[in-house]
Amino acid sequence: MRRAAGDAGPVLCVLMAILVLWYAAAAALNLQWERDQAERAGRAPSLTQMLSAAMSQDRPVLPAPHQVAVEIWKTTVDKKITSKRSLVYHSWVTLSATLLGFAMGTLLGVLLAVGIVHSRALDLSLMPWIIASQTIPILAIAPMIIVVLNAVGISGLLPKALISTYLSFFPVAVGMVKGLRSPDAMQMDQMRTWSATTAQTFWKLRLPSSMPYLFASLKVAVAASLVGAIVGELPTGAVAGLGARLLAGSYYGQTIQIWSALVTASILAAALVAIVGAMHRRVLRRMGAAA
């Protein structure tokens, strides 16, 4: 708690700096359009007039922060959360797929890592193909996955979550393989002298040693899950969720809507990563790290 309070100042400072930059960029990018308009209309408005116009365009190249803030406010606080126009509703749609996908991805990643670390055959044969699998652009095969799943009667949350899973298991698998192999020779030798079983070595040595790697990977994986869920919303019909909002926004050139969805997604990501970070700190404390 104290930590959170102590962080508020710096975070605000950085956010302020970003806001200032953002305004500057918005002005620079949107002014061009105002200038063209004025030129076409044969008007010569003053710079301040143009600036204020640039900050309140309907379809700005880059919306000003306050426009985004107003849009977010309108679509969160002013709307019932069950409404299709509520960002809270859409966030929840995405978040639920994210969480399910993250859970499955973490599980799969850890299981694969365990297999790879313990079986040389798996290590040799599987790893290259796991890597290759990650180079397949999901957007390309997602529709096929969805079609196939649909054919076997799976629809709704799960197909999206599966795309999240696909994106998130990889960082976990790579990180955990490294982490599970990170105990040093002496620690492994100790386990050998006690003739610990593979399972015991895993639970009592490999797993605790892998924690720093696991959590670094988990942070990447939640973020990837979120991206996966958003991406997965497109070929699943893009009916609801932040991805659908983004898509609809960009389809109709509604930059303000795009940016409000983007900002929401970012806040969601930051929150998810922060939660994983908090779990990391708790685990570290349990594992006796210096405060």
């Binding site: 359009w33 308009q37 076409r40 309907d58 379809r59 190249v61 409404s83 299709k84 126009r85 509520s86 859409h90 957007l139 390309a140 997602a142 529709p143 096929m144 969805i146 079609v147 196939v148 649909n150 054919a151 497109l234 070929p235 019909g237 893009a238 009916v239 609801a240 659908a244 909002r245 898509l247 609809a248 926004g249 960009s250 389809y251 109709y252 050139g253 509604q254 809507q257």
Partner: protein
């Protein structure tokens, strides 16, 4: 009730008002049908969905449907609610483009993903290469919106009369600042949003019967939508789960779409079909389809439905 799954070509919008109206007004129910309407999206290829068993009937453009047919998905057109084409190429006037001949050396935004066939056929007919050579045109894969035109990244972009054109207008460009080439006017109009099913399914009388009822109810929906454009647009809005569509835009879209469906009772006009096939076959060295398709359409459904 009998189940029917319909896969749309694009997201929920007034372009598909007839089906939403039919569902909302209970026309499907009256025919004893329970219809699930699946919205499309940028990466959904309806022929792939139907081949995978994800839908009973799909909406597709005829060029894409015929191309798929050549690739081994035996699609058959069973009805054609949209009689006219809404496709066009919109250019900024200040680029100096006055006629299609002026396209040479310009940058054009084109939709791909199976929607490029009409454009390619048109260019082939004009004899303008699309491979980026200096005497040809530079083609960009256009994203979902008209930004390339607004940002001056392209000299012309693809648009539909009922949608993207109005986005350009909304963005602040005046109609007099634009030059518009409608495919209809250029004589390269190909059939758009038609209803397609898999050939072998039609052999099943029960399926055929379902389709008959489906087409009948859908056309009833379309005619209702033509008569009540604002209400139809509102029904579409209610069905839009993204909550991103605006009333103004959808109502306008409904009116424009109505112009394309006007006068169509859903029956495919074989003359339109022949014209489309001719255009597609005229693709020069790289035609969209290589031979005249057989059995790519049937009146079996509309004959019964419109009795």
């Amino acid at each position: 009730a009998d189940q029917v799954t319909l896969q749309l070509k694009w997201v929920t919008q007034a372009q598909f008002a007839g089906y939403y109206v039919a569902a909302d007004k209970g026309f499907y129910e009256e025919e004893g049908l329970e219809v699930e309407i699946k919205p499309g999206g940028p990466d959904i290829a309806p022929p792939q969905v139907i081949a995978g068993g994800g839908a009973d009937v799909i909406i597709d453009w005829m060029p894409s449907a015929l191309a798929s047919r050549e690739k081994g998905v035996p699609l058959v057109n069973i009805a054609q609610p949209l009689k006219r084409s809404g496709m066009m190429l919109v250019c900024r006037k200040d680029t100096g483009i006055k006629s299609p001949e002026d396209f040479r050396g310009k940058t054009l935004g084109v939709w791909f993903f199976g929607n490029e066939y009409p454009f390619l056929a048109w260019m082939a007919r004009l004899g303008i290469p699309t491979d980026g050579s200096p005497e040809g045109v530079r083609v960009l894969k256009q994203g979902f919106n008209v930004d390339p035109l607004l940002q001056k990244q392209a000299d012309c972009v693809s648009a539909m009369t009922y949608n993207e054109y109005w986005q350009i207008i909304d963005a602040g460009l005046k109609p007099e600042e634009l030059v518009v080439f409608k495919y209809e006017d250029q004589g390269v109009a190909t059939l758009e949003d038609g209803l397609y099913v898999l050939e072998e399914n039609l052999k099943d009388p029960a399926f055929l019967d379902r389709m008959v009822r489906f087409v009948r109810a859908s056309m009833k929906g379309w005619k209702w939508a033509e008569a009540h454009p604002d209400e139809a647009a509102d029904i579409v809005l209610e069905n839009d789960a993204t909550g991103a569509q605006t009333e103004k835009h959808q109502r306008r879209m409904m009116r424009e779409v109505a112009k394309l469906t006007a006068g169509s009772n859903g029956e495919l006009d074989p003359a339109d079909y022949e014209r489309t096939v001719d255009i597609l076959l005229s693709g020069g060295s790289d035609p969209v389809i290589t031979r005249r398709p057989e059995g790519a359409w049937t009146h079996a459904v509309t004959d019964k439905a419109l009795k």
